[in-house]
Symmetry: C2
Amino acid sequence: MSLKHALLGVLEARPMSGYDLVRFFSSSSGWIWAAPQSQIYPTLRRMEDIGLIQGDDEARGPRLTRTVYSITPKGLAELKTWLGIPAKPSPVRDHMLLQALNFDMIDADTAHAVLEQFITEQEKAAEEAEAHRQRLLNRDTPLLVERLKRRDPDDHEPIVRLKAHVFAGVAAVARTRAEWAREGQRLLREPLPDGE
Amino acid sequence: MSLKHALLGVLEARPMSGYDLVRFFSSSSGWIWAAPQSQIYPTLRRMEDIGLIQGDDEARGPRLTRTVYSITPKGLAELKTWLGIPAKPSPVRDHMLLQALNFDMIDADTAHAVLEQFITEQEKAAEEAEAHRQRLLNRDTPLLVERLKRRDPDDHEPIVRLKAHVFAGVAAVARTRAEWAREGQRLLREPLPDGE
DNA sequence: CACTACATGTAACTAGTTACATGATTCG
DNA sequence: CGAATCATGTAACTAGTTACATGTAGTG
């Protein structure tokens, strides 16, 4: 289960409540690992049960409390171990490619439109990832600032570059996909180039 | 459920038994959509229940039979409809990027090794996809040959190109990922380029 | 006082994974 | 006759999705 490690990775920066984490995994970091609210809360409790994180109740008004989770030494050890183990290749399951594989069965205009929407999405994803990469390089995200506080200032620059590079990867893949789809649209437009 | 549509897409080429499909989804087409045996058999029966495919029992020796499934008009209609509907963007969940996001927490050599294995895998995937693309362009795969039999010869070339293009996409994404990982290794090697 | 944000949960479901189980047929 | 391949299944599980449910606190 990698949601576990995604949560540990975030909590390493600073303690957070379930609610904080829900928001986090619905937005910014959702570009790397997405998870719905209904999965996060139970996972946090299971992680506390096995000692990876510790939850502390904090009063927020007379009747409302929140549980703030922080990573434990055991959790940190688990995270570091996991980081060093190569994952076995995950089974391929690409919705868009699966559709494209049979685009010869439907009319070219419809297929073209499906690709068009895909291109729009991928380009948006690439832009957002690129923007986030810039924010990281500028040390403009609250979580990164928190993280760096406990690190040697000499290490800040390489850490920032590594994190930024991850989002460069997201952007690069999205652009590759968009470019692939555009080439697909070209193929749909020219059914039989003469001379063949 | 897209396994359903993956199965329909294959059965459109020719009728197949569950066993055939299991082998198919463990190999070649597994590069687009992977599925284990334990998922395929029940799915086929459910698809037959709702009339998307039809199973016919065939004797294979005195005691052994196999069920050969073929796509029904209803199944073909379902497939064609599905092909024209853009999928909503699927939630991002990238194991490698999640690991890389925290590579600053472990030593550079370990991180480097994890990336190395990833690169090997991606390059292998790219090569295999590229090889399959070539086989398609040469009309060298049995299923493609079956498919083309029921198509106007004038359409063969554009159909082949479309299918081949899908595997070009697989290869392109794999190469992009490998290149990203290589750049990551470079970042790990040069902790602090002078002058900053 | 209404609206938004805070805060946490649960139920029912679909998809996918891992592992086991069983027997028939073919080929060397 | 033993091994590989053909052929089909099931059980138990983990992960992820969709939808609903409930109440508190702050802001205009």
